[in-house]
């Protein structure tokens, strides 16, 4: 008996800890997403087009066309669920020290995975399995936030693109859901972590400036990488490249780096403001960058106005969806007007078409010259 007890105690001490560790080991979501991407068969051009058109709402869901895509994606999406559920921060391990040469291969994979997740949600909605469909929409919302991790402007744009697809997909179906389902989904949306802000993402742009600063501000710096950069397709629109190259003296680099940092800080500060101030700040930054005495600044500082609009667009779309989740098919002109856009705080406009679809619109065209709207129903 004594030996049995001793053996039992020894076995418990030996195996219990590792087993527990295996059970609860938190994994960096980025690693799980990469695994999900690795086991996904590549979409054919026709399949990619199908996913694209359905997710954008330009084509109705076609179960026959989606069947192969979804059966091939099953294991990959299950891994994506594990990634989305992970409680540890998503670290893509981006090599920021590479500046403009930094590799960001995950963003396109996340964009594709988000689209396939929405296609899977569409499949469940078509079968009347609303709860399962919502699971995949929530996966897409989480995936969007993870895509934005790392706070680079490109990651941020991809985050917004994925989130926009998810909001528009929910809008296509939510009028058909009962009140409880709408309320549950609205509550689940509120539990999601906030989207990465454009303001934080703009901070990531300092990677480019740091790259210039650390490599070229010292006497005798090797300019080979600048020459390589100037010979690349991504720099087609950069002007006066010969003159630009001549600005790469130690003094020149220090001066244009200081100017770029100042513009970046102004843009970042502006991105934390309400839309009118944000828009004014972005416009001023763009104008000052274009009037800089340095060709480097004129060429390398990316336009900011369009970037600044994104967070207000997504916030307005979310408000529109919230209104529909709250009121369902009872949504009318008076109720819609109690909700306000994120740009200027104007009441939302309501439009009902003969086919029963409802559209919510901003009072004024936003972004400038474009109509921002969300259509409910198919």
């Amino acid at each position: 008996m004594k030996y049995t007890l001793l053996t039992f105690t020894f076995a418990t001490l030996t195996f219990a800890s590792p087993l527990r560790a295996l059970d609860s080991r938190p994994t960096n979501p980025a690693l799980l997403y990469w695994q999900a991407a690795a086991i996904r068969p590549q979409l054919t051009p026709e399949q990619a087009k199908e996913v694209h058109e359905v997710v954008a709402g330009r084509k109705p869901y076609d179960a026959m066309a989606a069947a192969k895509i979804l059966s091939d994606s099953k294991s990959s999406l299950l891994l994506a669920f594990k990634a989305a559920d992970s409680t540890v921060p998503c670290d893509w391990g981006m090599p920021v020290e590479d500046g403009p040469f930094m590799a960001l291969p995950h963003v396109s994979k996340m964009q594709e995975m988000g689209a396939v997740a929405i296609l899977q949600a569409e499949d469940f909605f078509a079968e009347g399995k609303v709860k399962e469909g919502l699971d995949y929409l929530l996966l897409t919302h989480r995936l969007a936030r993870h895509a934005g991790a790392g706070d680079m402007l490109i990651s941020n744009l991809v985050q917004y693109a994925i989130e926009t697809n998810a909001l528009r997909a929910a809008a296509r179906h939510c009028l058909a859901w009962d009140a409880d389902t709408r309320k549950t989904y609205a509550a689940q949306l509120k539990t999601l972590p906030p989207l990465h802000t454009t303001q934080a993402a703009y901070g990531g742009e300092s990677a480019f400036i740091d790259w210039l600063d650390t490599r070229f501000s010292v006497a005798g710096a090797d300019k080979t990488q600048v020459e390589e950069l100037l010979n690349m397709e991504g720099t087609d629109k950069w002007k006066a490249k010969e003159a630009l190259l001549k600005e790469f003296t130690p003094e020149g680099v220090k001066a244009f780096v200081a100017e770029m940092r100042s513009l970046q800080l102004r843009a970042q500060a502006g991105l934390g403001e309400a839309w009118p101030q944000c828009h004014a700040a972005m416009k001023a930054v763009d104008e000052d960058a274009q009037h800089s005495t340095f060709y480097v600044v004129r060429s390398m500082v990316a336009p900011t106005v369009n970037v600044g609009e994104k967070q207000f667009v997504i916030a307005t779309l979310r408000t529109m969806l919230d209104a529909a989740l709250e009121h369902g098919a009872q949504l009318d002109e008076a109720t819609a007007a109690t909700y306000h856009d994120a740009f200027t705080g104007d009441p939302l406009r309501f439009k009902k078409d003969a086919d029963g679809t409802i559209t919510l619109l901003t009072a004024q065209p936003h972004p400038a010259g474009k109509e921002l709207s969300l259509k409910f129903g198919k």
């Binding site: 964009q111 929530l138 490109i154």
Partner: protein, 140 residues
């Protein structure tokens, strides 16, 4: 959010069917393998055993011709004015930006959302390509 429970049997069936589809190659023939390896090694040994010293005069002559040509080509012409070295001979874009790099995406984003999304679509279908079948083969 909850992780959906997969249909275990269906997953297993799918996996088995995938594997079954791959078994179109003939079974591994150990005897053939070792015979082939023996021949490869024998061939390599024969090659390395071949004396190379008889090539020495030919190689020396060829090296001398190359060195002489280079000397003539690079000989400074005293009559010609000294020109500073062109740092960048042509700045017309000719190299593709590294795939999936910040530079490539920024340039696309500057052309608008549609351009960025098109580039992301292209990259999603070409990055992380399938591993070579050589590395999928069963290990000995």
């Amino acid at each position: 959010m909850s992780t959906p429970t997969p249909d275990d049997d269906q997953s297993m069936r799918d996996a088995l069917q995938r594997d079954a589809a791959r078994v179109s190659e003939p079974a591994f023939d150990a005897a053939l393998h070792y015979e082939t390896m023996r021949r490869v090694r024998a061939l390599a040994e024969t090659k390395s055993a071949t004396p190379r010293w008889h090539l020495a005069p030919t190689l020396t002559a060829a090296a001398a011709v190359v060195a002489l040509s280079a000397l003539i080509a690079l000989w400074p012409h005293s009559s010609a004015p000294t020109k500073p070295r062109e740092v960048v001979t042509s700045l017309a874009p000719r190299t593709a930006a590294p795939r999936a790099s910040l530079l490539a995406y920024q340039a696309a984003a500057n052309d608008g959302d549609a351009a960025l999304l098109a580039l992301l679509d292209r990259d999603a279908s070409t990055l992380l390509p399938a591993s070579s079948p050589l590395f999928n083969a069963t290990l000995p």
